[in-house]
Symmetry: C2
Subunit: 451 residues, 2 copies
């Protein structure tokens, strides 16, 4: 990146020094030399007290940008410490959808008092009813609607008079006399069209729209598929309620990917690698306890075969290989399925096709891995039967892994749960139980012939 | 979504029926009623032979759109079956960056012959030298550059005469007399400015640019952070080489997230849940073999304590709990670290801070889980010493999990490897070896007092 005169680290050090000396004005002077996203990056690293002291003294549009860039929780923590009057000034400068999200995260009393003092309260109030992760929660109420019988010249005049808080309004929306959305005109079209032409003659009528209740994942999928810069949200009558812009979609895609990655990894919610210990414990310990139940289940299966293990103790070493490989294969199948569901590459009606495929993959990989393991065990122990038993258990467990890896996320999705959350535990429980059960069970049946 | 008259499934059935009857014209007529991304969705489901038969007969800009939407490998498979002359017509309609990517994936001979017949070959040729996953590989060479001493009116005239293949040119780039990039003007600014103003007086000079060699992950991070619709690529002299548009970034973000998710899940490369079995086996089996080495390592640790297990066979059941919980905790730490690295939330200088944090989380979670496990084991077996041993082993293993979960991805990143790829195996190997070793080792030391 060129033209970036100051590094974030340098600024952070300078700002911290200034705050330590109590020289808030100096800290502000340094911060205001940065671009808003960089200001937010420095800001994030400060204590909440310092944040609350600084924020009301920055230019309101800088403060607004910073609050927009912070993680939702952090933004709410700071905003709660700012008096309602100062907060209202900042909220007025925020994009209405972001202001509504922030107000929704605040203590209701504090939110009500800030809202009461806002000049732009009318823009924000209708957005408060929508859930954060729906189209209604993502949309902004700042958009320009024009009549279809207007001329290009009039439209350009309207655009001159309109001053949105953000610069990237690329589309104008065109409605009929009943205010029903009929078409869209890009700025490029507007600039290059004959000034006397009517909007209805140059507008694009091939509209893609969503409802306020549409899930944000679906919104992201549509905007990404059709490469849309903006997506209008309409009600059942076809009236426009708002617009979702592409920057929100980038955030949604990153958010949904983070959620899938963390859920698959057994972490309940977003956390940063350098965040507080307390948060990490709270987001991981419940999961470890859930896992514990399944771990005791697997241990219970093993203990059924205690007598067998007493006679052939080396089985305790090899059982780990069967269960471990099953767990890996199950996680592979699960990962592919979760990602395919997230990207909309498959849906529920593909269940059967996906299942057949995973059984085939399990069988082939099971034979490939099972043959090698069987051979190694035969060489190590000099017992062909033990080699055969571990091979068979491996094939069986890898098929079970494919079945569980397919059906668990699909079943979760069918019942409207997140297919990434908890599926890992269930799949590895299946592969542990099957792996230990198959291997030790077969060994018990053939124990008299085992050397 | 409104105004979508035909479902993808219906169209697919109709197209397949038409192709079976040999009625290619009917298939084309149905396809051309759809939007290009929907055409691509139908197209993907067809056999390569049908695809190659259809593609040259569609409108070249529809064919171009379809090739852009297909997965890189699939697009190359079809393009190889189309004669160079027809292919050149389609490539002419593609965005230059996409055309260059496709040509790079083709058999060099076929690519050379198609390129030789292209009208837009000059736009595409300079892009061929850049790697697909760098800024140079993402950028398009279609952009409008204007002199800073031009008036707004002249700029609008230039815009009228310019006809890019895509509609979303939102920024105009302004250069000085040495062709060095100096500023940017949005269409909104252009429309609302005084027609006689000079571009240099209305342009935004706070430019963010990248070099052609910048990695696509870094490009996505910059565009997402600064909410950019387009990012100019410049050479060392400050001359513009191309522009990266936001739609490419959405693809990069999804691609990088997929890669991280699949790599963490032990899958080597992108695959779909309903893709061919052969591909899945090829992308998963190598990983299972890698895992096998580590599984035998863990089994080797267990076999060191064969004598202990012969005397107290129930240890074989409880060892699975210690290793399993360690694996889960390690995966949690690893997942958070990989995601934080991917989102640029942390970098290498935060290593120490992250490590201290993870050790603390490991200690706390280890004590919390260890106490419960110790108590349950004590109740089940009536042996307080065994309960204490499993508790201690659990605490030790969860600390090891935190350390491995932090250092493995950071070390991979430091040596320029993907922190998601392979880190899962290494971390679970550490937790298996530590878990089995600590638990069985302690049990061996205290075996005479174990009941």
């Amino acid at each position: 990146m060129t033209d970036q005169p100051l590094s974030i680290d340098d600024v952070l050090t300078t700002v911290r020094d200034a705050l330590d000396r109590g020289a808030i004005q100096d800290a502000i002077a340094v911060l205001e030399q940065l671009r808003p996203p960089d200001q937010a990056e420095v800001f994030e690293e400060l204590d909440t007290d310092d944040q609350a002291a600084l924020l009301p003294r920055l230019e309101p549009d800088d403060s607004a940008n910073i609050l927009e860039e912070l993680e939702d929780e952090d933004a709410a923590d700071v905003a709660e410490q700012i008096d309602p009057t100062s907060l209202a000034r900042i909220l007025d400068e925020m994009e209405p959808d972001e202001a509504a999200d922030l107000l929704g995260d605040l203590d209701p009393d504090h939110a009500r008092r800030a809202l009461a003092q806002m000049e732009e309260a009318d823009d924000v109030r209708p957005l408060l009813i929508h859930s954060d992760d729906s189209a209604g929660g993502l949309m902004t109420s700042e958009f320009l609607v024009l009549r279809q019988r207007m001329t290009v010249q009039d439209a350009i005049q309207a655009l001159r008079e309109w001053s949105p808080s953000e610069d990237f309004a690329y589309y104008l929306y065109v409605v009929d006399r009943d205010n029903v959305l009929r078409g869209v005109v890009s700025l490029r079209k507007l600039i290059t069209a004959d000034p006397r032409a009517l909007l209805q003659d140059i507008m694009d009528t091939d509209l893609i729209t969503v409802k306020a209740g549409t899930d944000q994942e679906e919104v992201a999928r549509i905007m990404s598929k059709y490469d849309l810069l903006a997506l209008p949200v309409v009600n059942d009558a076809g009236h426009m309620l708002g617009v979702i812009t592409y920057d929100d979609v980038v955030d949604v895609i990153e958010e949904e990917a983070s959620e899938d990655i963390l859920h698959l990894g057994g972490v309940l919610d977003e956390e940063s690698a350098v965040g507080p210990v307390r948060t990490s414990v709270r987001r991981r310990l419940p999961w470890l306890y859930v896992n514990l139940v399944t771990a005791f289940l697997a241990a219970g299966v093993i203990s059924l075969f205690k007598g067998t293990i007493e006679r052939v103790a080396i089985l305790a070493a090899f059982q780990a290989i069967v269960a471990g490989q099953g767990g890996n294969a199950g996680t592979q199948a699960l990962t592919v399925m979760v990602r395919s569901l997230a990207l909309g590459e498959i849906n529920l009606r593909d269940t059967w096709r996906a299942l057949v495929k995973e059984v085939a993959v399990g069988l082939i990989n099971g034979l490939a891995v099972g043959a090698v393991v069987g051979l190694i065990v035969f060489i190590l122990q000099g017992d062909p039967l033990l080699g055969l038993i571990i091979s068979l258990a491996m094939v069986g467990n890898l098929i079970a892994a494919g079945i569980a890896g397919t059906l668990v996320p699909i079943t979760l999705r069918r019942f409207k749960f997140d297919p990434a959350l908890g599926s890992g535990v269930i799949v590895t429980t299946v592969t542990d139980v099957c792996g230990f059960g198959l291997f030790l069970g077969l060994a018990t049946v053939f124990i008299q012939w085992l050397t």
